[in-house]
Symmetry: none
Subunit: 218 residues, 4 copies
DNA sequence: CATGAATGAGCTTTCATTCAT
DNA sequence: AATGAATGAAAGCTCATTCAT
């Protein structure tokens, strides 16, 4: 009985590992060939698994795509939550931002991001996953910005939709920028983000900052 | 001889019309099904042409995709140039921006934008076209911003890469935002754009503006 | 214009021929391997056509099956109608029956018959085709029997459902009998049919016939 | 030693139960999806057994099909023998027939019957099983009819092949009739069978009966 | 005795592309 | 210039069967 449970548990662990294997392989294939360009047999080969066996863990190719989208979203969600829970001041936010840059500017991530959003335009299930994620994202951002403003007493605590959208446009525009301009100096992006972050988190300080730039000429 | 040339000309006009027919049909198909989801036979049906005849004007499906990307880029380029040639003050830029919103927020445009950039991640020819376009875009933007700053004497005339990138992140993030959030109030975007445009075109004025917002709380 | 119409006509003829080719090949494959055992690639090979090309004429394998069932039913329908239009007396019916025996007892026909009816048990579209055919069949039989009885003044002109069903059980039981007993003397079936035909068409005469058999001991 | 035998016996009983489980599950699956449509994994699920375990008792899917056909045939054989051993008069035969109608007209039975005979057309092993069964059937029928005729002194005791075939056509045609006409009144079939049974078992009586029908007009 | 993970061949179907007309 | 018949490779997916546990 105890034995049985242990076996079950072991099986589950193994199954999870398998699922991960598939998702990792699929992610790589999708990145190289797109959702529709990638073939199940190539995904299987990359996952070192037979085609048929993949279907034990995923009902269809679409299911894999959706699972992958969800996994990516969850990862981002966790990242943002960690950022919020730890960050209360402008400095920590900036530090976190700096630390998150490699991920944000990663070309593979950008490629998958674009693929996912392009697909969302014609697959309502994927659109639903992304839209839900987007909703979470906006709530979290609202809280983060509000909290920082409160602690730094540097602006109105209430955060408008406009503010949120400006931040999100900035973050989500990265995918296209990176794809078009892979060799651009990363520090350019970092500086841009910091400037916007400042303007949003501490409007007054930002104003001074902007004025300073004016002084530096650039 | 003259006759011959006229015939040639007529033929060319006809061929151009055919090519346009194909590109229009392809654009619609791609928008609905993606580059890979769209089939030549469906494109042909939409172009009211036989499949085989398309191959008289385009070597392959990929050629059509590339031609389409080029055409879209050229269209955008012309739009931007017109904007620049006519705009010299902050007010005209804002007015132009306002006029360009419906196009910018159009979901079909956003879908094709994402499709194109996702494809660029794996097709170097398309990447090349888009990257060249991006280069033009940045030059034009630089000139536009510089000129406005000069005429309004409201900041440094030299425009840094950081500034350009901030603007482009904003503009290119729209595609993802619109796809995820199709029902979001358009005025939110407009206000966001205006705020960023102001900050970029007239840093001083923007600073005052931001401070004002601080006063309004939000 | 006239040219165009002729081309169209020629195309149609060619297409019809193609369709027939496919149906003939499919019929042979289905007979040997069953609807589900037969593969499209084998059907294509037999039709001397590429797999993909078959899909120009039929939407799916199921469509082929249905078309085949309809063709078979139509063939049988025509046979029965011819029989009716020509036959007004018991003698002509019996003669027609005799002439129809080779077809009725043909093992291939029997195999397809069984396949079709087995499939009807789980495919409602096929069931619909067969049920409609069955309805026609019963009407035609009713008319045939009624007309013969009238002309020979040998029984009630009205024909009951029971009578019809007895005849149909007899006719449709053949498929199973032939499959199980391929070597059985065909004359046995013929005699059996004649006896039932007589009993149904001319009850009085049949009674005498039966009595005669009693006399012959057999 | 004794212990050993008891264990063996218990094991055999257990194995038989397992086999039965599989056959029952297979029968249900085959009825719903056909021999080819049913999958081993679905059969296993229905038998509440693992896929691999089924292969302990059956070498292959085909073996299951054959075993099932044999079991069905044996069941029918037993039913017929019981009918014969108990029936000696026309009345008991008719009564038995009446009692057997629900089974005979059962759509599931009809479906399996058609499936089996269709398969026999292309699988010689199945054909062999069914043909042997058919032989038994004919012998039993011959004896039954002969015995009844003898006891009722109502006709020649010797029974010809023609007579046997007429009865079998009638019985085996039911499967097709039921499939095509599932809503037909069951009494119609019963009356048809009785009429034929009468004609076969007691030709003289039947003649009178037929004449009577003539009188009733129908 | 019993499980179900694993395989890879084979299924139906779609596609970009060619070419005779 | 224009058609669409024809191809065959490759897609996503399912299956009977095996075997380590």
């Amino acid at each position: 009985m105890v034995r049985c449970e242990m076996v079950k548990k072991a099986r589950e662990i193994r199954a999870d590992k398998r699922r991960r294997q598939v998702l990792d392989a699929a992610s790589a294939c999708f990145r190289e060939e797109g959702f529709h360009g990638a073939s199940m047999s190539r995904i299987a080969a990359r996952a070192e698994m037979s085609v048929g066996h993949i279907y034990r863990y995923f009902d269809s190719k679409e299911t894999i795509i959706i699972a992958l989208v969800q996994r990516d979203c969850a990862k981002f969600d966790r990242w943002l939550r960690r950022m919020i829970s730890s960050a209360a001041t402008i400095e920590t936010v900036i530090a976190n931002l700096r630390r998150g840059m490699p991920w944000l500017l990663n070309r593979d991530r950008a490629a998958i991001f674009l693929e996912m959003h392009a697909e969302a335009g014609r697959n309502s299930k994927i659109a639903a996953v992304l839209t839900e994620m987007d909703h979470n994202l906006r709530c979290l951002l609202k809280e983060l910005i509000g909290r920082v403003r409160r602690t730094s007493q540097s602006g109105p605590e209430e955060v408008t939709d406009v503010t949120i959208e400006v931040v999100l446009l900035q973050l989500q525009g990265v995918a296209a920028r990176v794809t078009l301009n892979p060799n651009l100096d990363r520090s350019v992006f970092l500086e841009g983000f910091e400037r916007v972050a400042l303007a949003v988190l501490a409007p007054e300080a930002s104003a001074q900052c902007v004025l300073k730039e004016a002084g530096k000429a650039g």
